[in-house]
């Protein structure tokens, strides 16, 4: 039995400890916002946070989550109120949308570490996330915009 928290709720899973966290999240917990893209940590579609840091869940054994806090796209906000989600909507980032959960979670990890990221910081944090539709210019703008919103909120 592997115990951890997902989006604030405790979970207990009786699964192969070597199974990637991705499939535990998607199939055992039914949270399908986290996507399968490559299975080898090349595309970032499966990105989630463990204790606030971005990881590729497709190559992370579920056992590594034991005792820790996992945040998926579903845990970012219940109502699209997270600044990244607001910025994503304001700038109309997604096209097909498949990679966007991973993009948003990577961006979330970035903003936790660097609330005012530079373009170089964005390159560094987001280069592991592929978008085949080519939404990169909008992702960049939306991350800057979300950082602005967070700063405004912080200032109030």
């Amino acid at each position: 039995m592997i115990s951890f928290r997902v989006n604030g709720k405790p979970v207990e899973l009786n699964v192969d400890p070597a199974m990637p966290l991705l499939w535990a999240i998607r199939e055992n917990l039914g949270l399908t916002g986290t996507k399968f893209g490559c299975g080898v940590a090349q595309c970032g579609a499966c990105t989630v946070l463990i204790d606030g840091g971005a990881v590729r869940s497709c190559v992370t054994p579920v056992s590594r989550a034991a005792g820790r806090e996992v945040t998926t796209i579903e845990g970012l906000s219940a109502d699209l109120s997270h600044p990244l989600q607001r910025a994503w909507i304001e700038i109309d980032v997604p096209q097909c949308g498949y990679c966007q959960s991973g993009q948003i979670m990577s961006a979330s990890g970035l903003l936790r570490a660097k609330p005012k990221p530079t373009d170089e910081d964005i390159d560094q944090a987001m280069t592991g996330n592929i978008c085949r539709c080519g939404t990169y210019p909008r992702i960049r703008r939306a991350i800057h915009r979300a950082a602005e919103m967070m700063a405004e909120r912080g200032a109030k």
Partner: protein, 716 residues
């Protein structure tokens, strides 16, 4: 005219459901229905809008949403004519029904950058008809003539009294209403939604993780399967031992299907581990001698022979024979994978007399038909639900219905609802690639430096041959092999374009921008070569030879202006320009690039523009131009599929890389406002990327790129 046709044309059915509000089903003639619509089928039933008592307007979309924005643009068309309250408008995917057939193709599918323009009248008429019904209901309520009523923002207004009633309320009172099928459409000056950069309706569900793609579908008691497919195309299964796979915990069944061996399990991980444990022997003799090198030799030999004539103006051979200086070039492009971010998948619930399918597909009619054949059912007993598509780019519009057909085979063996998931490696090895092409060119310029002769020979596989679309191959010429080349727009007096169509076991398919994905690269690069040979500025020479083509000129001038063509650049950088018409639209691009001492290409800036005729949502168009440029640059800079000993050598994103954030240039996209007939959006942004970058590299370094992906070691 038959009684039935009369009835279809004249009669508009109105039914009121207890809870679902008003469902409008009506019959409208398709204006401008083209070749593919069979005679006698001019009047197609349509059911595009649902009005709920809570004021929600649901627009039923007959095209699949794969990123191109049709779940926003089609509702905009309908809502504009309907005078609906945009904040109440929702989208839903259409079921499979002839009512939702593509008005031009005559089947239900999404492709060819046709969704918005083919829906332009269809969805507006649907909206106008819905509006007419609601006006008629209100007029009856108020005992006034319908002409006395106006509509705005989801209400019908009584012109005499100023009273108003909402669409939702009126929808509950519509029983018995009949209105004439003839509905007037708005003058374009009265559009209040069409032409505005409205936000996409699907962004919230794509920013919350709630949007359901095919791979996300879950059914009670569902199993997950992966299939061990042939390691090379045409390979035959000799033997396999299911025991090691069955020994894996969670594996329920191991069974042969036509494409290989399916491992059916409780979940993906067990299925994949089971597959990893399988022992299979294959007979790979079909592709044994095949390699990229051997194919190249075969194509090069063919290119030395005359091919089928796709275009002939003047006498290119004679002009070239007389030329004092002749330019000869070979251009090559590789096989490419669509590499959608969502790998292929399909969920099937097969029962004795019914089959239900959930899939992100671009080809509902074909997939449903294929599923019915395999299941031994009639197509109408197969219910296909279109989910969101995690990218399509043509791969999910397969006349062979490979990923749907296989899933039905697996479902027959599973005895339970089952979802087949392809891994990234499976997806990349699954075939149906953009074909590899070999282009041989010769050209010369006149004494004034203008291009005088252009000879272009194309060698490669036909996409349409062997599919139900093969009838579109005319006189041996598959237009998708020569489009963008045979219609060379430049005023060159002697032009020859020829085609050699090859055959081999590698399955091929349309890949975002189809023939234009390679012909634009070749045409715009070789034109640049002739400009250099004639000592001409590539922008000015294009201008001069496009005199009769105002729309190409419009986008060309715009990108030249916005990019600062001719103005100084930082040392080491060059600008390249390209212009190309495709899918009824006209696109141009200027790229700025530099090359490092180590030969690494960096694209710094891209300015791109499109004239797609009357546009529906310029925000979505800009996004498609940005994405199209990146899609085109990915192919230009990174990608090729190669074969050795019959086997594909690439497998995942480490050896089939995508352009990433750190390589992404600044992109400036412009959509030209126009009153011309609407054209395509999804694909026309792709073709100019490779030649604009290649021409920029020439401007920066003097080295000519003739082979994709770009490797400076191969530039000449």
């Amino acid at each position: 005219m038959s009684a039935t046709m009369m009835e279809r044309r004249e009669f508009l059915k109105v039914t009121v459901g207890a809870s679902s509000g008003l469902l409008i089903g009506f019959y409208l003639p398709f204006a401008g229905a083209a070749a593919a619509a069979p005679a006698g089928e001019v009047f197609k039933p349509n059911a595009f809008v649902r009005i709920a008592p809570d004021e929600t307007i649901s627009v039923v979309c007959n095209h699949s949403e794969m990123g191109q924005g049709v779940y926003t643009s089609l509702p905009m068309l309908l809502a504009d004519e309907m005078d609906a309250d945009w904040t109440k408008v929702r989208y839903e995917p259409a079921p499979v029904d002839p009512a939702y057939n593509h008005p031009v193709f005559g089947v239900q599918m999404t492709g060819g950058s046709t969704s918005t323009w083919s829906g332009f009248e269809q969805y507006r008429k649907a909206g106008a008809a819905a509006r007419a019904v609601l006006v008629a209901v209100a007029a009856r309520e108020w005992s006034v003539a319908p002409e006395k009523c106006t509509t705005a923002n989801g209400f019908v207004v009584n012109g005499d009294t100023g009273a108003r009633q909402s669409y939702g309320l009126l929808s509950t009172k519509a029983a018995g209403i009949q209105v004439p099928a003839q509905v007037a459409l708005k003058d374009s000056k009265d559009f209040h939604l069409i032409g505005k950069p409205l936000k996409r309706l699907d962004t919230p569900e794509k920013s919350s993780g709630k949007g359901i793609f095919g791979i996300d579908v879950s059914l009670p008691g569902m199993m997950t399967a992966v299939v061990a497919r042939a390691p090379s195309f045409g390979a035959k299964l000799k033997t396999f031992d299911p025991a090691p796979a069955m020994a894996v915990q969670g594996v329920r069944k191991v069974t042969q299907v036509p494409t290989g061996v399916a491992v059916i399990a409780d979940g993906f991980w067990a299925a994949k581990r089971g597959r990893d444990a399988l022992h299979i022997e294959w007979d790979e003799s079909a592709m044994a001698g095949f390699s990229t090198k051997s194919q190249r030799e075969e194509y090069a030999a063919l290119a030395r022979q005359p091919g089928l004539v796709a275009r002939k103006d003047g006498d290119a051979a004679a002009a070239l024979a007389r030329a004092s200086k002749k330019l000869t070039a070979v251009y090559e492009v590789p096989y490419l994978s669509h590499a959608m971010m969502e790998p292929l998948n399909c969920a099937v619930d097969l029962r004795a007399d019914h089959c239900e399918i959930w899939v992100g597909t671009q080809f509902q009619t074909g997939d449903r038909y294929a599923a019915a054949q395999i299941a031994g059912l009639k197509p109408e007993h197969v219910e296909l639900h279109t989910t969101l598509l995690g990218g399509g780019f043509g791969r999910r519009a397969n006349p062979a219905s490979d990923f749907v057909g296989e899933a039905v085979h697996v479902a027959k063996a599973a005895g339970a609802p089952v979802k087949v998931i392809w891994t990234r490696e499976d997806d990349m090895h699954g075939g149906f690639y953009r074909p590899a092409y070999y282009h041989a060119l010769e050209g010369c310029v006149d004494s004034g430096g203008a291009p005088l002769a252009w000879s272009h020979r194309i060698v490669g596989q036909s996409i349409l041959a062997g599919t139900p679309f093969a009838a579109m191959v005319k006189n041996g010429i598959d237009d998708s092999s020569v489009e963008g080349a045979a219609d060379l727009p430049y005023a060159i007096p002697n032009v020859s374009v020829e085609l050699h169509t090859t055959k081999n076991p590698v399955p091929v398919l349309w890949w975002r921008s189809v023939g234009h994905s390679h012909t634009a690269f070749v045409k715009e690069s070789f034109f640049d070569e002739l400009c250099a040979a004639g000592g001409k500025d590539p922008y000015q020479m294009r201008r001069a030879l496009l005199a009769g083509h105002p729309r190409e000129l419009g986008v060309l001038d715009l990108v030249a202006e916005k990019s600062g063509w001719g103005k100084p650049l930082p040392a080491g950088r060059g600008r390249g320009i390209a212009v190309h018409a495709s899918f009824g639209s006209f696109a141009a691009m200027v790229a700025e690039a530099s090359v490092s001492d180590g030969g690494k290409v960096r694209v710094h800036r891209v300015v791109t523009a499109i004239d797609c005729g009357r546009y529906v949502n310029p925000g979505i168009i800009e996004a498609q131009l940005e994405g199209g440029a990146i899609f085109g640059m990915t192919a230009a800079l990174h990608d090729e599929l190669t074969f050795e000993g019959g086997r594909l050598q690439q497998s995942n994103f480490h050896n089939y890389p995508m352009l990433r954030m750190n390589e992404c240039p600044e992109i400036e996209a412009h959509a030209i406002r126009s009153d011309e007939k609407p054209g395509g959006i999804g694909e026309p942004g792709v073709p100019c990327a490779a030649p604009a970058v290649a021409n920029a590299i020439f401007a920066a370094t003097g080295k000519r790129v003739r082979k994709l992906p770009i490797r400076m070691s191969e530039a000449v």
